[in-house]
Symmetry: none
Subunit: 197 residues, 4 copies
Amino acid sequence: MTEQRQERADAARNRRAVLRAAERLVAEHGGDHVSLDRVAAEAGVGKGTVFRRFGSRTGLLRALLEERSLALREAITDGLPPLGPGAPARERLTAFLDGLCGIAEDNAALLTAHEQACADAKYTEPSYLFWHGHIASLVAQERPDLDADFLAHALLALFDGELVRRTTSPGEPRRFTRSVTELAAALLDAPPAPPVP
Amino acid sequence: MTEQRQERADAARNRRAVLRAAERLVAEHGGDHVSLDRVAAEAGVGKGTVFRRFGSRTGLLRALLEERSLALREAITDGLPPLGPGAPARERLTAFLDGLCGIAEDNAALLTAHEQACADAKYTEPSYLFWHGHIASLVAQERPDLDADFLAHALLALFDGELVRRTTSPGEPRRFTRSVTELAAALLDAPPAPPVP
Amino acid sequence: MTEQRQERADAARNRRAVLRAAERLVAEHGGDHVSLDRVAAEAGVGKGTVFRRFGSRTGLLRALLEERSLALREAITDGLPPLGPGAPARERLTAFLDGLCGIAEDNAALLTAHEQACADAKYTEPSYLFWHGHIASLVAQERPDLDADFLAHALLALFDGELVRRTTSPGEPRRFTRSVTELAAALLDAPPAPPVP
Amino acid sequence: MTEQRQERADAARNRRAVLRAAERLVAEHGGDHVSLDRVAAEAGVGKGTVFRRFGSRTGLLRALLEERSLALREAITDGLPPLGPGAPARERLTAFLDGLCGIAEDNAALLTAHEQACADAKYTEPSYLFWHGHIASLVAQERPDLDADFLAHALLALFDGELVRRTTSPGEPRRFTRSVTELAAALLDAPPAPPVP
DNA sequence: TTCTAAACGAGACGGTACGTCGAGTCTTGTG
DNA sequence: CACAAGACTCGACGTACCGTCTCGTTTAGAA
């Protein structure tokens, strides 16, 4: 049994309604200005329901983001190359960043809202830890001479909702992806650092 | 005359008292948990005074940060090399990042509080614009082939209070500075990107 | 069912706590100088609670007064003569004024605070309208030749907190009641006004 | 010398400007909602000037009212009958109430603002004391058997800005005066109260 | 199918922090 | 040098929103 108990039919329905309402509101009003009262009202459920399901504002936004990134996560773990295991580290990293950038470009407002809510717990979120571990592992394989841990943080720091929005213009819908990819490439291609005297 | 009117003596005194109180509270309690009521009480002034002087929570934190970085800003504009004008772009950038990292390491909690308060207006703050312009200008001089604008955002994205705190350990007080410097060096030393086919 | 929904237990408890705190503070400090912050603090609840329950400073004071006068109101509507229906108008009016004067004498400070808060909405308050309607109705029965409406306003205008306090001296605890009663008696006993030529 | 110092010309001009501005604002917006900042701005003077001249919000409104009632006051003290000394008490009272009602009808909004500002000091204001003393004295002459002091308070309690406004309708511009006069007449014509047993 | 206990739904409640407003004060500049 | 101007101070008021809690309702599973 994957669940201790079958999720009640109405509960599942409400769960979906809340997620849809939240994404609608985040899309309309920018990231911020989405209070849980409004989400609950828009979803047609009580506020208690939202909290029962998602624990907190942060949890709700996290759930939304994880819903968006679930496919990418599974492709990395169990999928085919170049995302999944088997491909060279460099190609896996490029493919992964491409996928994550795509998600970011499609959900910039949501990213902003999530950052706002997470505050300082951002670095302890399961998703963040997963992305970070994946990047650091690949970087370590490709460039053992670099500080893979910090570099992974640096790459993930680019996924700021507002930065995505400002980088992405109507004329260049994928400029953020290109910028991130180029930056990553530059880092991986950098010559070995001279030893600190 | 740089000011239309001399700031009143009592106003200046209160301004200082509020800033000192805020910095004291931010230092004690971590970044967050610093309400303006408490700042006002700690400073011994009414809450209205805080709002008149700083406009909002964001304004107060911004003022604190700008106070901390004023010296660096002036050194860049009017100071001697390697920070000020005259030195090669590469050296100016290294010196600047070193200075900014030092400020960040000394004020990680304040950084966190400011990010929390600024929300999504971060990229329009005068300070951010100044830092960004400076970095982008130097990068453009040193590496005209790179996307200086995005790269500047990427470097500034590293100055996240929580990342600073997590990078800096008691044993390595300047590890954040070293990491940032190395990353910047790697980027500037990267070979020219091959033309996209 | 008199109520759509049962008032929650904790809400009722807090409601009482707030009212008790307010009455305590009004009694100690005179009428004015009772800020809602202090009431909330004295009651041990958040300020938001006070506002949720009572809407505003005015609402809180009104609730206090209505609590004081609820018994009188019910006695008038459903009680026994001479207050309740059945007694001659003159006797009902005398009994009513006696009761209202008693309340006023016991709550002069509260009256003052309420007047201060109500400002100009005094004549539209449910309580005022009820008292006024009752008086006017009785006067109209007793003396159809008088302007019952204005006379009712005139009688109620006597219930000014400060006037009550100034009329009531330690030596004559019920002097206000006596004065009001005599004045009312004089009005009701006045000879018919000569027709205006 | 009646004044320690001759009032400077500009001071006198500003004094008038402030009074005119205040009356204009009170007339436009009802009684309340007239902040001293706005009065000062409307008068084209600094706020300090308003406070130096009138001491406080209360003082400003009081000055306005006294300006309005100065003529009546002088007529009572030094004028000709029936207002001034010499006429029978009954006629002097009637004439006085008529005059005061006229002022009230013309300045209902101002009355309201003044009550709001005076709060509980209403009974100690020079104007109030003067009116009260005059009424009480006349009542005492006419009806020594009544409680002249309380009756004077009762009559003055009718001069409530909001009551005046509600009594006065476009169709009956002087209805307030008539109502007050009739009420006073009824009181003075009331038969002697039977002795309290 | 009916009963019972647990989970759910709705939203009122509790509290903290923010920002506004206006009365009254005080410093600085000016005629 | 007294007055005018208005920036400044203070604290009360009211709002917004997060997270909790209660109470009535619905459902899942047992008898």
